[in-house]
Amino acid sequence: MTKIRVTSDFVTGGALVLAGSAMYLGARGFSAPPTMSYGAGFFPKIVAGGMAISGLLIVLADLRARLSEQAAFDVRGAGRVALLAAMIAAYALALNPLGFHLATVCLLFLVTRFYGGGWISAGVLSVAATLILHFVFYSVMRVSLPWGVMLPFAW
């Protein structure tokens, strides 16, 4: 039995075919006005078809020429990306209840440590950058940043 070597292009193309098919199925539920043959689903169906065909072309090209590297999964790298994403998600969840200032200081501190910064530089950077961001966005540009629990001390 021939063993299929899974390459990165094979995975990419396959994922695009699946995504395109899912998008197409979703687009089938969109309605068209009674007098027209082109409705809400027309453009998404074209896009979905295009995505699936592109994926198929990538897979076929890879099968014919073996252009890409063998698919490899870097568990450590993926873990680090997931950790950074978790920090951003936590920031989004904390921004309104905790307020811009506390949430941003925490995020900057953790992210500086994450990228290899020392404790002192993380502390200084997180506080100083938060104050500068406050000045630029809140004071100069009048963006209404959430105060959260800091509301009684708003200035």
Partner: protein
Amino acid sequence: MNILRGLTDPTLLATIAVCTLYGALVGALPGLSATMAVALLVPFTFYMDPVTAVAAIVATTTTGIFAGDISGALLRIPGTPASAAYVADSATIAERGQPRTALFVSLFAGVCGGIIGVCALALAAPLLADFSKNFSSDEMFWLAALGLSCAVFVADAPPAKTFASLFIGLAVACVGIDIAVGEPRYTFGLYDLFDGVEFISAMIGFFALTELFKAAAVRRDPATRIQAPKMEPLGEAIGNALREIKARWKNIARSGPMGVLIGVLPGAGADVAAWIAYAVSRKFSRTPEKYGHGHAEGLVDGGAANNAAVSGAWTPALVFGIPGDSVTAIAIGVLMMKGLNPGPDIFERSGEIVYTLFGAFLMANIFMILTGGIAILLASQLLRMPKHMLMPLVLALSLIGGFAVLNSVFSIWIILVLGFVGYAMILGGLPIAPAILGVVLGPVVEQNFMTSMIKSQGALMPLFDRNISMVLGGATILIWSLCLYRAIRTILKPNEINDAKDDIS
């Protein structure tokens, strides 16, 4: 005489100087665009007279568009969709230790393009207005479709992968309330998605977060540790840039007027101008294989075209009240607020103000040499920063910048999701830039197509009925067929591709 007197008014000059610096600094920050800079300026224009108010917007836009190149070159995060067209070139030049050269090339090309734009407008505004008057939704649909095809030319990836990236961007553009029947699409019941995905959030997600994820994945890999950045002396950078501009004057002479013509078409704007100019530049270049690998030629063409288009976009705004881009949409509001209702007779009604406005454009471009230079000097310090300080700052700036666009935490979720999509695309070898073009142009393509279909009651042939639409439609279909042929040939004759790869390496 009155126009000259108006232009030498110290208040007006001071406003232009301050706003060019403001535009340069805001535009240089990743996640903050020229549109945002102008939007934030609007409350201040309440207190200005009409000419000063409009001059403030013009000055901010002119440098804001250029400054988008700064974060593009230094951080590989384009500040505007226009900068995305040539970000691979500018960032690669910067990585080679010549960040200031790349930025001064952008600056000088932008100034030249801007001046060409102003001159063209002042001389030919009525003619250009007449030409764009002939454009209906049919022509706009074909023009936007033609703009999409540029993505296939500019990307340095196999055609199938470029198409895939473009369709991912178009899929993102499908999210939100449908323009034909008002039906929510792919919103998963989330009201925040009813307005679709805002393109600034998309850009931050695709470019900024993707870079941060890439850096996170290799955080402890010593081979990928950032070296102390090399920064060439200021004099050397200016000299290099001037030599580059001098050698490429023909590119500027071609892309400047092209930018004006594209900018003058309603809805096209600086983004489309930069992409088309870059694609044309690559097509006619003697060294197309260098594009995307730190070649200044595309940078000159794209930079000149996008600043020229900024001037061009004002023609439909002034003459018809149709915004050429998002900035002129805001500007129309300010004009109306000041009692200057845009319309075909604005040259008769408010000719003095309109020509003073063109003068302000010229001044802004000249001031930009100084203020843009200051912005480059300040921003290039970014590269001296160690990675553990730079990355958190970019992240915070991107998230707060994204939040500020809609004043909603939901923007951060969009940025996060699209960051993941962008990172997955990078892992799969798909280029990012075509996806951004899809997000920007997708709604334009669909809206104009649906308008045409409603007019023709679903018949497709009327899309080719008019002369201009026939030419544009023919060109678009031809280009797309060629691209599809290239993609299929990759499968049928894979050895050619392998040989070509070997030749390059």
